[in-house]
């Protein structure tokens, strides 16, 4: 059949082929039926698997009306969970931000041996199960470890206390800023910094006035993703927290406790706050990709 078309085309010319027999169809796209089927499959799949669970969060939360919803959010344990989540993110995110900038500076601005290996190590926490991320700190600071009892005798509680939660959160959010900045700063090269240095700027001046303005949107993008994960982390935090109400419960843990008590309205009410955070993150992220796409190296990858 393929041969026939070719022969016809040489004899009759392409114009005849496209007009007389059937309307012209672009050879590099699918027909309208196939297109409709693919669109339906894709949108149906996304609607069913992704949008439905999101919608359910809000509908379940308001099932018994606004009053119950507000009551659930006013619970003192829930309020302390919200405070703890904000505190943990306020410690973990800046620390990983500083690490991310330092690692990206070393990796992107210099050539040294073992660089690829270092990048692989930075990505390591992404391939570790959240539960294992918690387990490693239990093994390190637990009752039958070397560090745990020693720290305890000096009055420092790590496990089943806030420091453990912060450590586990740092672990799971570790790569976010670094992996955003490394490809971006590698793309930008070293020309701007070399120019600044040769004009007499100090290292800090170069960083503040040359590098930072170049990477600010990529940095914000990384911080955004890092923060979303830090506030939403469940598995790792669950293992190290000890679930002490009002003291070591973060918002996701509070959701679990309320759900397991069959207090569904309250569980979904707290969930709406986290889902709201996810939506704000997605909107800001899409805006950054749309507006500053060229200045965010990872825009197509996340």
């Amino acid at each position: 059949m393929a041969l026939d078309i070719v022969r016809e085309e040489t004899v009759l010319g392409p114009a005849r082929l496209s007009t007389a027999k059937r309307p012209f169809k672009r050879p590099t796209t699918e027909g309208p039926v196939a297109k409709a089927v693919l669109m339906t499959l894709a949108l149906g799949f996304l609607g069913f698997f992704l949008v439905l669970p999101l919608a359910a969060v809000f509908i379940e939360a308001f099932r018994k009306g606004l009053g119950e919803f507000m009551l659930a959010l006013g619970d003192p344990d829930t309020i302390s969970a919200i405070k703890l989540t904000l505190t943990v993110a306020a410690i973990a995110v800046p620390l990983n931000l500083v690490f991310g900038v330092a690692a990206a500076w070393a990796i992107a601005k210099f050539e040294f041996k073992g660089k690829t290996f270092l990048i692989t190590l930075i990505d390591l926490p992404f391939s570790v199960s959240p539960v294992i991320s918690g387990l490693i700190y239990v093994l390190l600071f637990g009752a039958n470890s070397m560090l745990g009892p020693w720290l305890k005798s000096h009055g420092i509680e790590v496990l089943f206390a806030v420091p453990g939660i912060v450590l586990a959160t740092i672990f799971v959010t570790f790569p976010f800023v670094a992996r955003e900045l490394i490809p971006l700063m590698q793309d930008q090269g070293t020309g701007d910094e070399e120019a600044a240095i040769s004009l007499g700027a100090s290292g800090w001046q170069t960083f503040w006035y040359v590098t930072l303005p170049n990477i600010k949107w990529g940095l914000l993008y990384g911080v955004l993703l890092c923060n979303a994960r830090a506030m939403g982390e469940f598995g790792a935090v669950s293992v190290v927290s000890g679930h002490i109400r009002g003291l070591t419960n973060t918002m996701p843990l509070q959701v679990e406790i309320l759900y397991n008590e069959y207090n569904f309205v309250a569980a979904f009410a707290v969930s709406t706050l986290l889902a709201g955070l996810a939506l704000v993150t997605l909107v800001l992220k899409s805006f950054l990709e749309y507006r500053y796409g060229d200045e965010i190296a990872g825009s197509a990858k996340h």
Partner: protein
Amino acid sequence: MSLAAKAGWRLRTPSVIPGFGLTLGFAVTYLTLIILIPLAGVFWRTSELGWSEFVALVSDPRTKSALQLSFGASLIAAAVNVVFGTIVAWVLVRYSFPGRRIVDAVVDLPFALPTAVAGISLAAIYAPNGWVGQLLAPLGIKAAFTPLGIVIALIFIGLPFVVRTVQPVMLEIDREVEEAAATLGANRFQTIARVILPALAPALLTGFALAFARAVGEYGSVIFIAGNIPYFSEIAPLLIVIRLEEFNYAGATAVATIMLVISFLMLLLINLIQAWSRRRFGYGA
């Protein structure tokens, strides 16, 4: 820190830009303290167990069935995600329709939505009295509190990995290649099957591996819908948590070691696929 800085100084190419010792030293120190030493602890604890005790812990029937379930469900979910993820990516890359940008943003929802929230929401939807659960019940299908529910949660969590891996590679495909195939007499199906899909193969494999690796370790979104019945719907990460709550640290560590070794092998596999793809196609997947 000084050690790392000194070692790096000798190994690096000279440059006028300052701060190498400071930034690399800080980064390596932080990485070692937060990631490497704690992770090494797992392997150290395992080595203390001794081989025979390790084998005994791992071949415990409950552990075995949890590992089998975790890996089996993750394989199925990753396979489903490869098929639908590719279709979603294709629609997003090739077709223009109103709201495309919103649909594109929605794909990242599983990255942004905390896993516990996704977990209770999926459990509510697929429970026998939930929106989907009550439609499935007359058909005799139970989704919540069965392995099927676990697969559903893992599909939710893994989809963006496939889409976000395949999408940029699809954007790179040169339309001229498709035009050439069409001029040479290939119909649309042949062009897709023989020209486009082979070029996407490394990205599809990487996406599959990423979705699979994430699914094996997933905890928050699964435990609510799984029902957590031992030997039936209990996943490996949950078994680690249960062992820890029993203060059975050896049992928890043994399961964790198996999972860590497999995730490192997956990481290696992904790197090999990307290296192969760069050689074969000139770009990483």
